[in-house]
């Protein structure tokens, strides 16, 4: 028996035997694959059968095992996983005879049986020719570079330190806290921002965290497991080695440039400016006189052609600040001019209701007819057409607050460019949407906070912690497990390039979606094992057949094709 492939056909408790009669399968398969050893099993997914199969493999020393069972998404993947766990050395593969054959060709049993024979022979042809990817060694430095010390970066650094991983926390400012340092209180619960930051700062004050103030990343090189980042620390150049990177460099508010006559009239200010003023006002007792009418204008320079996105935090911020004005003095008339209020979720919905209950007025306007701020030198009114009633309104105001969106920081593009990360149309960094939004397509690079998309401080913290756990997993065990290549939940293989066949044309280098194929100094093209995800694009573009994924090599693919070609040709 040794050296022959074993075919285990699961009859799914005999339910498949009607569509795929056993004798028809046996005759069909053995006549075409005389070397194969065939076994019918009532249900491979049962633990007893799995144990029995594992025992059988141990005894009989088969060269490979093909499971003919159900779809990988039904039980197939579990079965093959279970078998592989008992013996990784035996190449194993799965063909789907239930969802892929018996269940969809029930109306034509003859054709179904012929197809099942084809599928099994095809699986065998591919399996017996399958090669294994070469081994490679991945060095994993147990150190993470966190770029940005805002709420996301602080949470990531603190979490990593607790997990016993060394952290370099770099920020372009001298102080930790990021944008929260410019904001007094946070929605939805009106928490003072320093109170919110305190536990994060405390966690990040761990001895394993090395905070580098006034630092920017000028360049990153290297591979996952060992990135080399060149930093500029307060004018001095420095290179650090890190096993993983967490990008938490956040976003910045768009400041008004003469929007709604902001440069011209005093009293037209940005939301950020209001934060500063509120901090002064809230300290005073009793409430200072001055403001009698405040108008907030939402969606300044957002949701328009040049900046088409909703920044998602400006509505809750405006509600929070409007409520703060009301708290200072209930007599202030506060009106929010909006294009639809965005307050998703339980807590933000509550904030909205609270704002309505406190007498804040909401008026919708149309982007085609934006509100006009009136006054000379000082603001005195805002006039607009109510989009719902079509009435002209004149609202007396001595303060106009422009809700400004967040936009990506300028350095984000170069940082992402060095690592080969993709930016969305707006300039925010994309993760592996939709399955792993916090992981970049490259192993060892994680994203959190507003570098991905504008988020609230609490969401930034949550994402920071999640990214930290992902980075820690990668450094301790993640990446590629060679034993598991081609198994479910793992990648298909790792590309290799045969130097003697390679013409060095560089098509794989240009095409590789992960920057894994690259040109070495002497023009030879090599593959970085840790970057490769086994998609096979390099093999498909290679004109000389030098690039290949051993596990899905074209020789085995061709053998599979020959098995399903009409019989007359052979």
């Amino acid at each position: 028996m040794s050296g022959t492939p074993l075919v285990l056909i699961c009859t799914c408790h005999e339910t498949l035997s009607r569509a795929l009669p056993k004798h028809a399968l046996r005759i069909g398969i053995i006549s075409r694959m005389p070397a194969a050893h065939l076994e019918f099993v009532p249900s491979l997914c049962r633990q007893e059968d799995m144990d029995r199969t594992a025992g059988l493999l141990e005894e009989t020393k088969h060269s490979a095992v093909l499971l003919a069972a159900c779809s990988p998404f039904a039980r197939g993947n579990k079965v093959i996983e279970g078998l592989a766990r008992s013996n990784y050395a035996i190449p194993a593969s799965l063909v789907d005879l239930r969802e892929g054959c018996a269940w969809i060709h029930g109306g034509n049993p003859e054709a179904a049986a012929a197809k099942a024979v084809d599928l099994v022979c095809m699986g065998l042809a591919g399996l017996t020719r399958r090669e294994r990817s070469p081994n490679f060694h991945v060095q994993r430095e147990r150190r993470v570079l966190v770029v940005g010390a805002g709420p996301a970066g602080l949470a990531a650094a603190g979490t990593l330190a607790q997990l016993g991983i060394e952290v370099i926390l770099a920020d372009r400012m001298s102080r930790q806290g990021g944008l929260l340092n410019q904001i007094g209180r946070l929605f939805p619960r009106n928490t003072p921002s320093q109170e919110f930051l305190a536990p994060l700062l405390q966690d990040a004050a761990h001895p394993a965290v090395n905070f580098l103030p006034k630092t920017s990343v000028t360049r990153t090189d290297g591979d996952p497991g060992r990135f080399e980042a060149r930093l500029s620390c307060d004018g001095q150049n420095k290179t650090v080695i890190a096993g993983a990177l967490i990008l938490a460099c956040g976003a910045m508010p768009v400041l008004p440039e003469n929007h709604f006559r902001s440069g011209e009239l005093s009293g037209v200010i940005s939301q950020l400016e209001l934060e500063t003023r509120l901090r002064k006002l809230e300290g005073q007792e009793p409430a200072p006189p001055g403001i009698t009418g405040a108008v907030f204008i939402q969606c300044m320079a957002a949701r328009e052609d040049a900046r088409p996105y909703c920044s998602s935090i400006c509505c809750p911020t405006a509600l929070k600040n409007a409520l703060r004005l009301k708290n200072i003095n209930r007599e202030i008339c506060v009106t929010i001019l909006h294009r639809g209020i965005t307050t998703p979720g339980r807590t933000l919905e509550e904030l909205y209701r609270q704002a309505m209950a406190s007498g804040i007025r909401f008026v919708a306007f149309s982007p085609a007819d934006p509100p006009k701020v009136r006054g000379d030198n000082f603001v005195n009114a805002v006039s607009l057409t109510d989009a719902l009633s079509a009435r002209r309104l004149d609202i007396a105001a001595d303060l106009v607050v422009l809700s400004t969106p967040l936009r990506p920081r300028p350095e984000t593009a170069s940082l992402a460019g060095d690592l080969g990360l993709r930016l969305d149309g707006m300039g925010f960094v994309c993760g592996t949407e939709p399955m792993q939004p916090l992981a970049a397509p490259l192993h060892g690079v994680y994203l959190c906070g507003a570098v991905r998309w504008p988020v609230s401080a609490q969401d930034a913290v949550d994402q920071g912690r999640a990214a930290a756990v992902k980075a820690a997993t990668f450094l301790t065990q993640g990446g590629v497990d060679q034993k598991r290549l081609f198994l479910p939940g793992s990648q298909s293989g790792i590309a290799s390039i045969r130097a003697e066949a390679c013409s060095r044309c560089g098509r794989c280098v240009a095409g590789c979606p992960y920057g894994a194929c690259r040109r070495e100094g002497n023009e030879v093209i090599s593959v970085s094992g840790i970057r490769c995800r086994g998609c096979g694009l390099c093999a498909a573009v290679c004109p000389s057949g030098a690039a290949r994924i051993p596990e899905q090599d074209s020789a085995s693919m061709r053998a599979m094709l020959r098995e399903i070609a009409p019989r007359i040709i052979q």
Binding site: S71, P72, F73, A74, D96, R98, E99, G100, C101, W103, I104, H105, G106, G107, N108, A111, A112, A114, K115, D118, L119, M122, G126, R422, E433, P434, M435, P441, Q491, S492, G493, G511, P513, Y514, R533, G534, C535, G536, L537, A539, A540, V541, I549, Q552, S554, M557, R558, M560, L561, R562, I564, A565, P566, I568, I569
Partner: protein, 151 residues
């Protein structure tokens, strides 16, 4: 000298249609699985080869399948912009579109190479595509092996 042997000669009505489907395991394979779960009755004309990414399907492999006597080849990947492999399906699509043109030039119907980008993700979508593809292939004659000789 007559016209070159084109793909519009006699149609063999009782011929068994054979097609191969290269299905991306992140997208079209799910559609195929779903069609199976819903037990949608389909013509038994196609055999699926699961692939990691549609980008890994070499144009040469498509030609080889046709040279082996298969009536058609389908390559099914994720929707454009939703590739599991960082947009690898965009260059793959361009390459295979070019191959469709080349098939036409050598005298084979371009519909023998079915391309699907994210349109086979649901069971009924996969089933619809397979029925349609089988019907198209049934209207075409067997591939003349002298037309396709991959290197």
């Amino acid at each position: 000298m007559t016209e070159p042997a084109l793909d519009i000669r006699t149609t063999n009505a009782h011929r068994e249609i054979r097609a191969v489907v290269f299905a991306c395991r992140w997208c079209a394979l799910l559609g195929a699985d779903r069609a199976g779960k819903e037990r949608i009755d389909l013509p038994a004309s196609f055999r699926i080869i699961p692939v990691e990414c549609a980008a890994g399907v070499e144009p040469d492999l498509v030609l080889r399948a046709l040279a082996d006597g298969l009536d058609g080849v389908a390559v099914m990947g994720c929707h454009l912009g939703g590739c599991r492999h960082n947009e690898a399906n965009r260059p793959a699509r361009l390459r295979l579109l070019l191959l469709q043109d080349l098939l036409e030039i050598i005298g084979l119907d371009r519909r023998r190479l079915l391309l699907s980008w994210g349109t086979a993700h649901e069971g009924y979508q996969f089933a619809g595509l397979m029925r349609e593809f089988t019907a198209i292939l049934a209207g075409l004659p067997a591939v003349d092996p002298t037309l396709v000789r991959p290197c």
